[in-house]
């Protein structure tokens, strides 16, 4: 087939215009346009194949033959080149400030430098330079981004979910009330999974958290409960966390966790026979009575003022222990041992000792 060169160029221009209209949907166009421009100059066969391809992808919209199509190729070429140049520019240049971002990133997608209008830099800086820019930056592609989860996007998702939700009870308007009426919190996770089966193995895990202050425990029961829970108790937040994952079903794990809590509670109220053999080393916190510190101070004070015949040891002991300086000393030692050592605690101890031994 012999194609006349003018006809060739005209058809090329036509398809190019078609391509321009389909610009938003397809992404291969910018790549092909330079190709088609180059191929126009080459052998006729190549352009034929290419034009067939482009014709196959185009949606067949009728093209308005405005402007340069009927006119001279050069003027059309300038206009066309400008339009092509516009298409070749990144999308960020044509974004409005008040655009709908959820349309740019409706779902989780990798970072597209040409679609994100932020001057982000990422990576190790080149020598005597700055971190590389976002264009062609692999580091930005590698990391997860949350551009699809802007507050607006989340609001939209919440609005979409609202028809499926029930109302939050109006009476529970503060955290304390929630804590008071619902002290036990159970956390369960649901997964959307696609694999050999639709069930996700982690969906069976159930976590139960409860604050010990909301349970009815006396001193002994509380200490025993903490000892029994071991790792599961957090001292700073006073929460006991029971994680159940040994059964295959969520409901079974939930029942097991509740059962564990019940057993712990009842066991900690029981007092076993062997519990009275608890030694000083088992104690959770330092108690000054009967400690070496108390013995030392009593001995020292007795050495300073030895017993006379009339005084009885027990009485003298009680009287010494009742003195204010001894109480201060006791407080400072208990603080040191329980709260750990700091400069402030040491100073307090020093003052107490000085007062006691009247230095």
């Amino acid at each position: 087939m012999i194609w006349r060169s003018v006809d060739l160029r005209r058809t090329a221009l036509r398809t190019l215009l078609q391509l321009q209209l389909n610009m938003a949907a397809s992404t291969f166009c910018p790549v092909l346009l330079p190709l088609s421009r180059i191929n126009c100059k080459l052998n006729g066969i190549y352009t034929l194949i290419l034009l067939n391809k482009t014709a196959a992808y185009s949606t067949g919209l009728s093209v308005k033959k405005t402007g340069a199509k009927t006119g001279l190729p050069q003027r059309g070429g300038k206009e066309l080149r400008r339009q092509i140049k516009q298409v070749l520019q990144p999308r960020t240049e044509r974004m409005a400030v008040d655009q709908d971002w959820t349309a740019v990133y409706p779902t989780a997608a990798s970072f597209k430098a040409d679609a994100v209008p932020l001057p982000v830099r990422m990576g190790y800086p080149v020598k005597k330079g700055v971190p590389p820019s976002k264009k062609g930056n692999l580091e930005l592609l590698k990391i997860p981004n949350f551009l699809h989860l802007t507050p607006n996007a989340i609001k939209k998702q919440c609005e979409a979910l609202k028809p499926f939700c029930t109302e939050w009870p109006a009476a529970l308007d503060s955290d304390e009330k929630c804590e008071k009426h619902f002290p036990i919190q159970v956390q369960k996770k649901d997964y959307v999974f696609a694999g050999p089966s639709l069930r996700h193995p982690d969906a069976r895990i159930v976590t139960l958290t409860v604050k010990l202050s909301s349970l009815n425990l006396d001193d002994h029961a509380r200490k025993k409960m903490i000892k029994l829970s071991g790792e599961r108790y957090n001292k700073d937040t006073d929460t006991l966390t029971i994680t159940a994952d040994s059964c295959p079903l969520k409901q079974q794990n939930h029942d097991y966790a509740m059962y564990m809590l019940t057993v712990l509670y009842h066991e900690s109220w029981k007092i076993e026979a062997w519990e009275k053999e608890k030694t000083r080393a088992d104690m959770e916190e330092y108690v000054w009575e009967d400690s070496p510190s108390q013995k030392n101070i009593l001995e020292t004070l007795l050495r300073i003022r030895p017993l006379s015949e009339q005084q009885e040891e027990g009485e003298v002991r009680e009287e010494l222990l009742g003195r204010e300086e001894v109480q201060e000393y006791k407080d400072s030692v208990t603080k040191l041992k329980n709260e750990g050592e700091t400069e402030g605690n040491m100073q307090q101890y020093k003052e107490a000792v000085k007062k006691l031994l009247s230095i």
């Binding site: 510190s293 101070i297 050495r303 000393y329 040491m346 020093k350 006691l356 031994l357 230095i359």
Partner: protein, 400 residues
């Protein structure tokens, strides 16, 4: 601001001191200069020195200034007590200058005010590494020595719980271990310090060392010490006997009464772990060592007529983390319960004034040879690099 030149200008205007533009420590140095000027025998060339060499007369006015230890007494007072780097400094500068610092002054004031008919008080100097605990202890011991006390100084208790080549099973008690070399060395040094007391104090009990050697009751303690030095095998038991005698007789009402200062550097070694091993490769506990056992008995406050001055030391300590410096961390549970109640005395790095003093002292001794170290910029660098820690500063200046 060139401080030596400033001082020369001050000397011309003797009484009238105008407040100059400068930092507050410079003004303090000026007031110290005025005080030094008014002292008739004062140093002609320094604001950082004081001529008051008697620790009993040191007050807050002398804080931050250096006083000189008389070289003649140095050998008898501190045969083994001073830190090694300080000993090298004495040799280099041909003088032993110690800075008067607040912890030592506090300790001396307690010693002055204490009632010696009551049980012995325990003082623990604690602080970060290299802050001057041992030096403060030595200052306090100098005070005790000038007051005529008997000084029982264990320079480093850590030396008794590690690196012992000879460990003999004790002859007197089964299950205990003797350290003949350490004991005899310590007895030699003890004798050098306290020679004049040893002839006056008598033993109260008969001691049997071997089948042929005994020390009768009523013999002077000097004989006991000689026995220990000569017969190295029984030196640990001799140390125990000596400590017992001193404990019984300190602060007595008799005319030969003396006050006893027990100074232990690195007292946390007595309740820590040891690196010594028995023949079956099991670890030796500190209480199984005779020396440690007897020293622990000494540190209890069941005797009167003296004071117990101790220092905690992390350098040389075994199995303790590097950041540990507070008493409970280094002493452990057992140590704290035994030493309780004690008076903790914190020792910290140099203050601005003390740093100035130290810097001027080094300049005076021509120790800082590097030209940049003599400028203000160099001084700021030194402050930054050492963070005003005395030992780090000393090591830095040694390289300049």
């Amino acid at each position: 601001m060139n401080l030596p030149r400033l001082y020369h200008r001050l000397r011309l205007t003797v009484v009238q001191v105008r407040s100059l533009h400068g930092s507050s420590n410079v003004q303090q140095v000026e007031t110290a200069a005025v005080a030094a000027e008014s002292d008739p025998v004062s140093s002609q060339f320094s604001v950082f020195r004081t001529s008051e060499n008697d620790p009993a007369c040191h007050t807050d006015l002398h804080a931050g200034q250096y006083y000189t230890l008389p070289t003649a007494q140095l050998r008898t007072l501190f045969p083994h007590g001073l830190p090694y780097r300080f000993q090298m400094q004495i040799k280099t500068f041909n003088e032993a200058c110690v800075m008067v610092r607040q912890p030592a002054l506090e300790l001396i004031s307690y010693l002055k005010k204490a009632d010696y008919s009551r049980p012995a008080l325990r003082y623990i100097l604690y602080g970060e590494t290299g802050c001057g605990k041992t030096m403060s202890l030595c200052h306090a011991l100098h005070f005790c020595a000038t007051q005529g006390w008997m000084v029982l100084h264990i320079p480093d208790a850590h030396l008794w719980v590690k690196n012992c080549r000879e460990l003999l099973p004790s002859s007197s008690r089964p299950g205990r271990l003797d350290q003949p070399l350490q004991a005899s060395l310590w007895l030699k040094n003890f004798k050098t310090t306290n020679d004049r007391f040893l002839s006056k104090i008598k033993t109260t009990q008969r001691y049997v060392w071997t089948k042929r050697e005994t020390t009768e009751e009523g013999r002077p303690l000097g004989e006991l010490v000689d026995q220990g030095v000569a017969r190295v095998k029984s030196s640990s038991d001799v140390v125990g006997a000596l400590l017992r005698e001193l404990r019984l007789q300190a602060g007595g009402a008799a005319e030969g009464a003396f006050r006893l200062a027990v100074a232990v550097d690195g007292v946390n070694a007595l309740w820590g772990r040891t690196t010594l091993k028995k023949e079956d490769k099991s670890e030796v506990l500190p209480e199984e060592l005779t020396l440690v056992h007897n020293l622990r008995k000494m540190l209890r406050n069941d005797w009167s007529g003296g004071a117990i001055l101790t220092t905690l030391s992390h350098t040389g300590s075994l199995y303790k983390p590097r950041s540990a410096y507070l008493p409970m961390e280094l002493l452990g549970e057992e140590g704290f319960d035994t030493m309780d109640p004690f008076v903790p005395v914190p020792v910290s790095s140099y203050t601005e004034k003390e740093f100035e003093s130290c810097y001027l002292y080094y300049m005076d001794r021509h120790w800082l040879q590097h030209p940049h170290s003599q400028t203000e910029e160099g001084k700021k660098e030194l402050i930054f690099l050492s963070n005003r820690n005395p030992s780090i500063l000393e090591r830095l200046c040694a390289t300049l």
